[in-house]
Amino acid sequence: MYLELNHLSKRYDNVVAIDDVSLSIAQGEFVTFLGPSGSGKSTILRMIAGFTRSDSGYIKLNGELIQEKPPYKRNLGIVFQDYSLFPHMTVQQNVAFGLRMRKVSKEEQARRVADALETVRLSGYEKRLPNQLSGGQRQRVALARAIVIEPLVLLLDEPLGALDRKLREEMQIELRRIHEALGVTTIFVTHDQEEALTMSDRVAILSGGQLHQMGTPYGVYERPATDFVADFLGRANLLQLAVVACEDSLIKAKLPGGSLISVPAIGEVATQDDIQVLVRPEHISFYPPAGDTPCNTVECAVERISYHGSGAYAILNGPGDVQLIAYISARELAEHGEAHQGQRITVYWPISASTILSRRA
């Protein structure tokens, strides 16, 4: 692989910051490190950049061990959370900085800076100082400064955190466009799960310094490996079940209230085991699915409906104090009419839409 992290670990005093993280990234990939603050995502980024040393493990970039290389020899483009533009330099000088350090000729500097500014759509701002630019424009300068040196990897450390929602979404599209235009391997750090899912080829989900799962956005959302991943990515119903029977491809298990549920079998599960099962709210419906899709059904009472425009979340009380969240799309609402509080209702979800989760100690 192009970039390999092997068994990286790091402790600060007695706090584990990074706990045996291994992952690899292919050339040209757009990978997101996703996790809450303190999950270690930025620390790993700083290790790749060379600002932080790992206590053990190694990093290999393009076949070369870079552990001993100082940051200035690694040829990586970094966009910092606060952009870190040089305040005393113009846009032109900021973007040209890396080229100047590489002793590129004045003419070539000018040409490449112009190209980079065009890529980030900021031509015409060459003479401005950073404090004369808006947040979004500074962001673009920081990006131009990082890509102009043609880095081996582009590292983006929560670059959209300081922007308002609309600008954020605009920059997300811009970043993808630039990634596709340049084909540069990109690592994007964020705590925003929606951002991670929309932008990435693959997402690495971190928590407490551990890598929980790495996979495509669809894969990590629909088939999360751990309860943390399931809960962190979107809304999740995490059901605690007791296994009563194991068949070839199906497991029959009981909710605390006694309702019997079927779950597709994964791994080794035996009768009497306690298992945790994920069902996404959007798979739970008030209405039986069309055709003969095998379904689980549970009797519930509607506790609350919260309307979101494109649909509504229904908070439901099932038997044995089990709480479920169902997402009812606007189309379903229109077809079947609104549910009201206190209503007794049967909910359905396809058996294939439930996933058994492993738990991490």
């Binding site: 100082p70 200035y72 690694r74 483009g77 970094i78 870190s84 040089f86 900085f97 890396g98």
Partner: protein, 265 residues
């Protein structure tokens, strides 16, 4: 800018008057032709400047003041600058503790520090020497200058060092391109304060003076014990000129607004 009410204007005017008025008494006195302190002066002359430069103890004192103030300014700016640079890279309790410890000398009267320095320098066999005087002035200025430089570095962004390094700048270039431009203003402000404080210091000088190490303020105090005449005024004007020249040099180097903490928005 906020609108200033008439009350605020009057208070500011009075405050300014109190601050500046003594200067406007001292300056005319320096050009007096009277033998005693009479205000306003009965006539004008430069005789007191002539008298000043005819006194070997004053001329020597002025030279010692300039030499010791220059030396202590360089030392203090370096030490305080490096310390403040370290402190801005610290976090939490460590940062507060170090800042606090460096400010403690401000709570102790200069008189006490002077006595302590006297004993300390005697041990080093430096009492009454120029190096001793310089050390004393370094001691006097350090906490003040540290405070000023630290305040000027409040907006220091350590990430710029990482940014420069990631763009291919080796450590020396990181220092020149990312650190120096951020700290020069603070250093210059610190240097200005150090120079003026060292030049004007009287208390410390009285303890640490000696043959070959009596700065002008100490020489003037000795002179004024015997008599008081317009010579005080002329010395004051000479002091004022030196400070102004120093500030002009700093202004030429990095800009006056930066030193005085005034920034154009």
């Amino acid at each position: 800018m906020k609108k200033v009410g008439p009350g605020m204007l009057i208070v500011s005017a009075i405050a300014l008057l109190f601050l500046v008025a003594p200067i406007f008494v001292a300056i005319p006195l320096a050009f007096s032709n009277a033998r005693t302190l009479i205000f306003p002066p009965p006539g004008w002359s430069l005789m007191w400047f002539e008298a000043f430069f005819k006194r070997p103890d004053f001329v020597k004192g002025l030279r010692i003041s300039l030499v010791s103030a220059t030396a202590s300014t360089i030392l203090v700016t370096l030490i305080a600058g490096i310390t403040a640079y370290g402190v801005v890279h610290m976090h939490g309790t460590k940062k507060r503790l170090v800042s606090l410890l460096l400010n403690v000398p401000l709570l102790i009267p200069v008189l006490v520090i002077g006595i302590a320095m006297l004993f300390f320098l005697a041990r080093l066999r430096l009492s009454g020497t120029l190096p001793g005087l310089i050390l004393g002035q370094v001691m006097l200025c350090l906490p003040l200058v540290f405070l000023i430089i630290l305040a000027a570095l409040e907006n220091y962004n350590p990430n710029l060092e990482d940014a420069a390094a990631s763009l291919g700048a080796p450590p020396l270039l990181v220092f020149r391109e990312a650190v120096l431009p951020q700290v020069t203003t603070g250093l210059a402000a610190g240097a200005a304060l150090a120079f003026i404080t060292s030049m004007a210091d009287t208390t410390m000088s009285l303890f640490l003076r000696g043959p070959g190490a009596t700065p002008l303020p100490a020489a003037m105090i000795a002179y004024m014990r015997a008599r008081i005449d317009p010579m005080i005024g002329s010395s004051a004007v000479i002091f004022l000129c030196i400070s102004i020249v120093f500030l002009i040099i700093i202004n030429r180097l990095i800009g006056f607004e930066a030193v005085m903490g005034v920034r154009e928005e």
